[in-house]
Amino acid sequence: MMKRDACLKSLSRHVTDDDIVLPVYSTAFDWLDIRPSPLNYTAHGAMGLASSHGLGLALGRPDKRVIVLDGDGSLLMNIGTLVTTAALAPKNFFHFVSENGTYEANGGHPTPGRGVVSFAGMARSAGYRNVYEFSDLKIFEQQVGAILAEEGPVFVALKVEPTGPQKRDYERIHGPGVRQAFKDALKAG
């Protein structure tokens, strides 16, 4: 089992200024501190939809790498996204899922199927080109750079510990300022 922020720090070393990153909920608050960028796309409007926003961005901007940092609770709300994405097979699409088995932003209640469901297995069955699952940080650190150099769609399940209480200022992820900054940055490059 890994710590999410350690995984994100490791990932951030391989993310470039040109990449679009879509982190959700608790992950978003960690990510914004670890790697601030106007190309962080954090306003998803409804739980579960980050991967679908990312798919639209990947289809519209095939020149950019699109990296979704999803949660297991969020993915469960939009599980069909695995099938839709695999069918379209965008080469620039990378879907990371932090599996902590809880609805962390909603009181820490367990997700259904915790410890039983294999998200990596579902992604593989859906037809994702490359699928990985990590529970050891050292191995993840060794491989994440090469994974981000692969052709998508790529799915990566990260087995992480629940983080617990977190300071959450939702204006930082949904506010009009961050949305406009993203639009401007994407338009500019």
Binding site: G56, G80, T84, L186
Partner: protein
Amino acid sequence: MEVRASAVDGRPVAGISGESIIQQIKASGIEFVVSVPDITTSEGLLRPLAAGTAPKLVRICKEDEGVAICAGLAHTQKRSLLLIQQTGLLDSINAIRGVAVEYSLPICMMVGLLEKEVGIRPRQSKRYGVRIVEPILDAMGIAYEEIEEQSDVAKIGPAIDRAYAQSKPIVMLIGQRPTAS
């Protein structure tokens, strides 16, 4: 154009050409049609769109996915159209609320009205699932156009242009099955 009358005392209305709707979609710069199949538009719109190469058809599993895909595309300056049934619209209300309305994004939705009686306005339908649609859109502050007969087709292009110019959602309610030609 064939004139059809409703079996439930609707006013006689002309049929509607799917090809002319597709022309409006193409002329308005739509590059992606994102869809869950809808029986009202299945033969007249979705099947001919699937047979063509442009706009690109994106088949999705559930309608709220489509709202977010269209949002992502809008950020990349690509125009898209979500082609669904009103059941999918109702199922996607929270996504439409959050993504299209609260973020003020140009999500263009073409919505087949399953079981609406030809020649009957949606609000007057005997079908509960039809007559609630426009009041719900009113409550959400979402603009809509009724596309019931051929003369309504000309509303489609301007409605899409308006959505992008104002960065606001639009719903086009398809009131009868378009023909494929």
